[in-house]
């Protein structure tokens, strides 16, 4: 109650503040009710085909409902959907446990997620062994593909980024120069262009007859691109680790890799966690570019759906699809950035104490 009163008082504490508050309130009052009407009140929730949404100036959630399977799983065979669900479940539980405060043995969990989880998830999704029918990547799609691509990209570009960041600081001139060149050049190119090289033009770079799966190529391109962003984040983190820390390691008689793995990297990662999460958010947002491989990720499925002649009934389907896409991306990315903000707070609190 007192909090509420403080809040209200802060809104009118000075004439300027009062004016700003009024402007904000008027703006909210004009936009929110219309949004509410469009998205909920007048929206179409049920029906059997596109005709049920026609001539209704409101969201057509029916479209999302009828395509829910595709939006989640793409063309993954329906009888095998449980595999995707299990893989997702393991990943989510692992992550939640890892991110929850107050849980011990985080290193072990992180190592499990980093090394044991990918093969398990890969076997589950791809199949072809252990009696699981094979599901080729061409049938992947929807949110499942989006999450897979994002998880792979984050999982692989973090180690490569660390390597590059170390490389850039290396005492070996050539190593430092090559790392710096690589980072600066790749960061200066738009991702669309890099993917064009990796997907469309790649066969020109290879001898005839050599084929590498397009999804693999795209994933490698994602990794090579985002590793540079992580490298720059880690560079800041590495710089924040005082050199006395390494010296202390030497004094203790540790080997070089031990100093790196046990002393420098943990501190650098902690220091750059907010930055890491931010790059993760941008990775999630840019996965939509995977459409260039001809695979329909979450956004691609929605965009493909709105040109189905059955659903060509007006603009509300398109608006709904994009609204829904925006909302889902927002939920994923916002959770990530909330997490980053929490770490940020915890860290600055830790520093103050």
């Amino acid at each position: 109650m007192a909090g509420m009163r403080d809040f209200l008082r802060s809104c009118v504490s000075t004439p300027l503040n009062a004016l700003l508050s009024i402007v904000v309130l008027v703006w909210l009052a004009t936009t929110l009710p219309e949004l509410f009407r469009w998205a909920l009140l007048d929206a179409v929730w049920s029906g059997s085909s596109g005709r049920d949404c026609a001539a209704r100036d409101a969201a057509c959630w029916l479209f999302i409902r009828m395509r829910a399977n595709q939006i989640l799983y793409g063309r993954y065979p329906p009888v095998e959907h449980w595999r995707v669900n299990i893989a997702a479940l393991i990943g989510v539980v692992g992550l939640v446990v890892l991110l929850l405060p107050g849980i011990r043995r985080k290193t072990a969990i992180a190592a499990g997620l980093l090394f044991a989880y990918p093969p398990v998830a890969g076997i589950l999704l791809r199949g072809g062994v252990l009696g699981l029918p094979a599901v080729p990547a061409a049938q992947w799609g929807g949110l499942m593909l989006t999450v897979t691509v994002a998880a792979w990209t984050i999982g692989t570009s973090i180690p490569l980024g660390l390597l590059l960041a170390f490389g850039r600081r290396s005492a070996l001139r050539v190593v430092a120069a090559v790392s710096a060149c690589y980072i600066d050049i790749v960061r200066g190119l738009p991702l669309v262009g890099i993917l064009f090289l990796a997907i469309v033009m790649f066969p020109l770079f290879m001898p005839p007859g050599i084929e590498i799966n397009e999804l693999v190529r795209a994933l490698v391109a994602f990794t090579l691109f985002n590793a540079t962003n992580f490298a720059e984040v880690f560079r800041g983190g590495l710089q924040s680790v005082p050199w006395q820390q390494s010296e202390a390691g030497i004094a203790l008689g540790l080997r070089r890799w031990q100093i790196a793995v046990r002393i420098v990297i943990p501190q650098a990662i902690t220091a750059s966690l907010p930055g890491i999460v931010n790059v993760c958010v941008s990775v999630v947002k840019e996965t939509t570019i995977i459409l260039i491989v001809g695979l329909f990720d979450f956004l691609g499925v929605l965009q493909g759906g709105i040109v189905d002649p059955e659903w060509l009934i007006g603009d509300q389907v398109r608006a709904t699809a994009y609204f829904f896409a925006g909302a889902v991306f927002f939920v994923i990315c916002f959770s990530l950035s909330r997490y980053s903000a929490r770490i940020e707070r915890a860290m600055s609190a830790g520093r103050r104490s």
């Binding site: 469309v200 005839p208 050599i210 260039i292 965009q303 493909g304 040109v307 002649p309």
Partner: protein
């Protein structure tokens, strides 16, 4: 990582026989057990994902036809969505075997880009759609108009040529993708929307009120649209050409997916018998089985059936046949004699 890649690729390169002629596409396709087609992204009636996410449409059916011809199994296809910008590069680089796309056969595309057009399967012409409320009756009244087109097609160039030839001012607004073009026109960004007439008609059903728009009578270009293959592989080029022609020949001869079995057994028409591989083995010259054309018709039907099902009377799009009627009905569709 890099080092490992280099070692890996180095070894692969050494293993590859450097100077060996490229493998024939047919052998590749057979070895892979699937035909790879590059298709237009999200084009209603021609190539689009249905409620189950399965790609369907006029262009996709011809991809099925190729699979039926090569394997006798129409389902052995892989479709690969290719933006117009990327499509030719993807074909020449070997990502797909054939483009069953919406590309116009032009001199420049046929020569010097490393690709060729075996034939034309769909005749169209570029037209303009305007709002009825503008009161415009002819393209010549579009002086100073803003015109929406899809980028990366011949449309842009045709508009430029036409308006320059008639000394008319215009403003071009080029979109990356036909869908965005339609949307922008519908929002009133342009006075006119220019595209192939077939596309205009098929996509106009997506306009807010299709009845408020009209396609102007002039056709400013001819647009023969057909499949595209890599240059220099005659066998594959011929397979694509004659698979497509087989569907037209079947329509000429009255062979449909419904009566093809019956005709194979009982037809006395020598051309039908040759087409269906009865008593003759024409498929062998293409490196295919004797019943290749039978498989095609059985699986996807003749040209008229494909047209009707996807874009004609039996589809929500209801396009007229127009130039795509058979030659004897006043259209341009004609198959060279099967003999």
């Amino acid at each position: 990582m890099v080092v490992r890649n280099i070692v890996f690729f180095g070894a692969m390169a050494a293993a590859a026989v450097w100077s060996a002629a490229e493998a024939a596409t047919l052998d590749d396709v057979k070895a892979r057990n699937v035909v790879r087609c590059g298709t237009a992204p999200n084009n209603p009636g021609f190539a689009f994902p249905d409620n189950q996410g399965k790609f369907r449409g006029f262009d996709i059916d011809f991809c099925h036809a190729l699979a039926a011809a090569v394997f006798g199994d129409a389902s052995k296809i892989e479709t690969r969505v290719a933006e117009p910008r990327d499509a030719f590069t993807m074909l020449t680089a070997g990502t797909v075997d054939v483009l069953t796309h919406r590309f116009t056969w032009t001199y420049n595309r046929d020569n010097g880009s490393g690709v060729e057009f075996p034939m034309a399967i769909f005749y169209d012409g570029q037209g303009f759609m305007v709002r009825k409320s503008l009161g415009v009756k002819s393209v010549n009244e579009l002086k100073g108009a803003a015109i929406c087109v899809a980028q990366g097609t011949t449309t842009e160039l045709n508009v430029a040529d036409y308006f320059n030839a008639h000394a008319m001012q215009y403003k071009i607004v080029a979109f990356n993708g036909t869908d965005a073009t339609r949307l922008a026109y519908d929002e009133g960004r342009c006075d006119a929307w220019s595209n192939d007439r077939g596309s205009l008609a098929s996509r106009s059903v997506a306009l807010k009120t299709p009845g408020d728009h009209v396609i102007l009578p002039e056709t400013i270009s001819k647009e023969p649209i057909g499949p595209v293959v890599r240059q220099g592989d005659d066998q594959w080029s011929h397979i694509v050409r004659w698979t497509y022609y087989a569907t037209i020949a079947a329509e000429e001869l009255g062979v449909t997916s419904a009566n093809v079995d019956e005709l194979r057994k009982g037809s006395t028409n020598p051309e039908v018998k040759r087409l269906l591989g009865v008593g003759d083995n024409l498929g062998q010259k293409l490196g295919l089985s004797a019943d290749w054309a039978y498989n095609v018709i059985k699986a996807i039907g003749n040209y008229g059936e494909i047209f009707d099902r996807n874009i004609g009377d039996k589809s929500p799009l209801r396009l007229g046949l127009g130039l795509n009627a058979l030659w004897r009905d006043g259209g341009l569709m004609i198959a060279p004699p099967i003999r």
